[in-house]
């Protein structure tokens, strides 16, 4: 029980399958096609700056929308009966158990021309295109990652001591003041881990924009996927930059909350 030996297999595992691959990305990113040291991959990667910016922008918007939708939802859920709470959380989780690709495909069917949404809206006299634009990509992202925002916020909120709220009320606070002074500050760790859990995958994912977006909505994940099969060096350089961005983001998030919340 007191022994550290039990962790040895995992330590070895980590070195081989976590550390070495990362080192290999670093090395590959600094070599050219002939295997010499070079900054060329980074110069190539630099050409995708606008894609980078667009990805971060889409991820930011999706995260913000998730937060706006999830926060009141989590709050409402905590106000329900215990058994209802479990049911609603379960209902939130069920779509997550469907395959990632099937969830996107479902949106393709729903949004396409002459699809159900188009049909319904044209009965009301509204005509438009709902797929192939940035909005569709963001809807897809929100759909994929909304539960990742709801769950941590809900977990934190449901642990808030009811006594604290009562005490505040007894001291004459109205419900808005209770929210501002008690509930919101205490739910910040949940918000931070929610933001992390939505932002990281939505900034780096691929396919969502390929299927739901138009020709302008290519994201950095798609570029890495496309380029990696033809030019591993540039692919590695872009991955490295992406990784650094994400780490900076996590460090900033870390400044707001305690470490436990991030994981």
């Amino acid at each position: 029980m007191k022994s550290r030996k039990l962790s040895i297999p995992y330590l070895i595992w980590m070195v081989i399958f976590t550390m070495i691959p990362l080192v290999m990305i670093g090395v590959t990113a600094f070599t050219d096609k002939d295997g010499h040291f070079s900054f060329e991959p980074f110069i190539n990667a630099f050409q995708y700056t606008n894609v980078f910016a667009k990805s971060l922008w889409i991820a930011l918007l999706s995260t913000a929308i998730c937060l706006v939708l999830a926060y009141p939802l989590a709050y409402i859920i905590t106000k329900m009966k215990r058994s209802t709470q479990n049911t609603v959380i379960m209902l939130m989780m069920i779509p997550m158990w469907m395959n990632f690709l099937l969830r996107i495909y479902a949106w393709i069917i729903l949004l396409q021309k002459n699809g159900p949404l188009d049909m319904a809206l044209s009965l009301l006299g509204i005509h438009g295109t709902y797929i192939g634009n940035t909005a569709a990509v963001i809807v897809g992202m929100v759909y994929e990652y909304l539960p990742f925002m709801v769950l941590p916020i809900y977990t934190v909120m449901s642990k808030i001591d009811g006594g604290l709220i009562e005490a505040a009320q007894d001291l004459g606070s109205n419900s808005f003041y209770v929210f501002k002074k008690v509930i919101f500050p205490l739910s910040i760790p949940g918000i931070i881990s929610g933001i992390t859990m939505v932002f990281v995958p939505s900034a780096s994912t691929f396919l969502v924009s390929q299927y739901l977006g138009g020709t302008d909505d290519i994201m950095i994940g798609d570029v890495i996927d496309k380029i990696f099969w033809t030019d591993q060096n540039t692919g590695a350089a872009i991955s490295l930059v992406l990784m650094i961005f994400i780490f900076i983001f996590l460090v900033i998030m870390n400044l707001f909350g305690d470490e436990e919340a991030i994981a």
């Binding site: 050409q47 295109t129 138009g214 290519i218 570029v223």
Partner: protein, 357 residues
């Protein structure tokens, strides 16, 4: 809770066990395997009264076929080059064959093991990409053409410039493959794609960048779903596939651009990484049996180089311009077979950039 979990676990384990054993059971009697790396949907799958040719091959020979697919010649090349994966049979197109031969990545075929090679018509035996006829057995051929939706495009297109038509903005699909996309742009710029230079690629790149705001999407085989369900107005694609789309949507029609187009061949080859050469040759031979080649032709609607197969084809397939374009039009077409490596890599690079701009 715990019991439920253990129940689920047991169920899962039981399922996995059956799958594993089922796998073992069938491989016990088999005579090895053949790893085929092919274009998606490239063999008759046993629907609509056609034969499942892969299953048939297994029944007749006892060899298991592991079929995996690629979308572009470039994907095939990169898989062969950069990952340590072995394939036994591949079906690259002409310019890729040139490249693979040049880089010494193909094995010479033993035509004695492929007796049905005699069924191939002479024209397709010594292809320009394989002038000595040592590495290839041609599988199919065709041209690129345009498919359009009659309800959305008023006049039958006559030139590739329909793909740059402002009035169709948002309804145009473009082929997501550097070679074909660049070639289409080059033809509009009056460049012969057969002998293009880097400067020509730049011109084509500019032309493609001009087109991008008008596009709905860059697609490969997604074009089927898009066109068949009326999601787009016009798209360039391979003629045989256009014939198939037209079977599923009456509103579709085809157009051969007068600028000419690309004539392509796809041929069976065996890469150096092959581990089952005999099985690979058996597979190639089987696919060139006239009746099998005919089945594949009926499914793909691409031209077949197999003379014997023609006997098994209905008149309406033989008369279909999309499957067998007439000689007159073929004279207007060019074939990619030998583009300089550097220009070719540049082409790919620029195409990704157009998309990422």
């Amino acid at each position: 809770m715990k019991k439920i979990i253990s129940f689920i676990l047991c169920a899962v384990l039981a399922c996995s066990a059956t799958v594993v054993f089922a796998g073992c059971g069938s491989s016990a009697e088999s005579k090895g395997e053949v790893n085929v790396y092919s274009w998606g949907d490239y063999f008759a799958p046993g629907e609509d009264g056609l034969m499942d040719v892969i299953a048939e091959f297994k029944d007749k020979t006892g060899i298991t076929v592991n079929l995996t697919t690629y979308d572009t010649n470039e994907e095939l090349y990169n898989m062969l080059k950069s990952s340590n994966v072995s394939y036994d049979v591949i079906i690259p197109s002409e310019y890729m064959i040139t490249k693979l031969i040049k880089e010494d990545m193909l094995l010479e075929l033993d035509y004695n093991n492929i007796p049905n090679y005699s069924e191939i018509s002479e024209r397709f035996k010594k292809l320009p990409c394989d002038p000595d006829g040592k590495y290839t057995v041609c599988y199919s051929w065709g041209v690129t053409a345009m498919v359009y939706d009659k309800t959305k495009v008023d006049k039958k297109p006559t030139s590739w410039d329909t793909l740059w038509d402002e009035s169709l903005k948002g309804d145009i699909l473009m082929i997501n493959n550097s070679r074909d996309a660049m070639a289409i742009a080059m033809q509009l710029c009056g460049i012969n794609p057969e002998e293009c230079t880097k400067a020509d690629v730049d011109k084509a790149t500019a032309k493609l960048a001009e087109q991008k705001p008008l596009l709905k999407k860059y697609v490969m085989d997604q074009v089927f779903t898009e066109m068949e369900s009326g999601q787009a107005a016009v798209a360039p694609y391979y003629a045989g596939d256009i014939a198939k789309m037209m079977e599923n949507n009456e509103d579709l029609d085809y157009a051969f651009p007068e600028d000419g187009s690309n004539l392509f061949y796809d041929a069976f080859c065996i890469p150096k990484s092959c581990k089952n050469k005999e099985n690979a040759e058996a597979f190639i031979n089987f696919m060139q049996k006239p009746e099998i080649a005919a089945e594949n032709c009926k499914y793909l609607l691409y031209g077949t180089p197999n003379k014997g197969a023609l006997e098994f084809l209905d008149e309406d397939i033989k008369d279909n311009e999309l499957t067998f374009p007439n000689e007159e039009y073929l004279d207007k077409c060019y074939t990619f077979s030998d583009v300089d490596d550097e220009v070719y890599a540049y082409m790919q690079e620029q195409f990704v950039k157009v998309q990422a701009e």
